[in-house]
């Protein structure tokens, strides 16, 4: 087991409905040292890639993306989930469905922050059905920018998102892939990587 899998086993809680609660270190309380370890690992896995910007999505991707950005020496852009009066001018948008919140959101990035010169690393905390990620990829493509890679903390390997994204040819690096989990026993099975 790697450092993230160990942390998940130690602090994660499996709930009914395919919910893996990791709110003590990933998406409510945030373990900054762990995020730095994730940054080091992705820096290794994306070695040689020409990355000049990280794109993530609010809210729980932001903290990870900012810490990881230090390992690549690049700025972060976070996609917003609802139209704000402070967001003006031309925007790239995509529609995504949230597994957690059971609703649809417009995902928005101001056009001025993405251009065809950009080489993007996408970062997010979870990958399940892949809707959010596909929205981000769509936005990067709309800008004529390049997706150099995708870093996910925890992939639910028993859902289809990872397979779809890999089949599209992207380098998807999930630090922990949960292939099975059992709410009754609390057991979590990780994919060998």
């Amino acid at each position: 087991m790697n450092f993230l899998e160990e942390k998940i086993v130690k602090e994660g809680i499996v709930k009914e409905g395919n919910v893996l609660k990791v709110d003590s270190f990933l998406n409510h309380q945030m373990d900054i040292e762990l995020f730095n370890d994730m940054g080091k690992e992705w820096k290794k896995r994306f070695a040689g890639k020409n990355i000049n910007k990280i794109l993530t999505i609010e809210a729980s991707g932001i903290g990870i993306a900012c810490i990881v950005a230090q390992h690549f020496g690049v700025p972060v852009v976070f996609a917003k989930k609802s139209k704000s009066i402070n967001l003006e001018g031309d925007m790239y948008t995509a529609e995504v469905e949230s597994f957690t919140h059971k609703n649809k959101n417009q995902v928005i990035v101001a056009k001025k922050f993405l251009s065809e010169e950009d080489h993007i690393l996408l970062i997010d905390d979870f990958l399940a059905n892949g809707c959010a990620l596909q929205g981000l990829i769509q936005i990067v493509q709309s800008a004529g920018a390049t997706v150099e890679g995708i870093g996910i903390a925890i992939e639910k390997g028993f859902q289809t998102g990872g397979k779809i994204i890999r089949n599209l040819g992207y380098q998807l690096e999930s630090l922990a892939i949960v292939d099975d989990m059992n709410a009754a026993t609390g057991e979590i099975v990780f994919r060998e990587q």
Copy 2:
């Protein structure tokens, strides 16, 4: 002018309706080096304070809080703005009104992440009428925890939030206080600190 005021003058845009757009470096695209400079400055201003946790609020506080946390060696908790099916068990809540989005939100922190042993640094990107901040203070107090200090990137000094918070006796350290701004000329007047 300090480093943040210089950045605001260089890249900020004053809009009608008391809107200061700083989305190129603070709350849409994020300048991680700048956030590190902010962390260094707050570490100086809160020297000697016994801080063991940072509390912020989604979404635009998260990135700043995570980078700043590295300067204090502490974890971050971010308050959530809407009830999620992944948030269970006992929660502290407060109701806050958003200036930007013109709506009311429940602000939520799981009880297990705040206790009376906690000494909290509150971090956020903007302070205007102070509603969000008062919600966070209320949550910290509900937990019996201590607010050791409050770090704000940009305070709108012509609104009442800063005055109210300081009158309550909190050490509020805003790195840039805008006392006046003019959408017609683009001029920004900072308070001498």
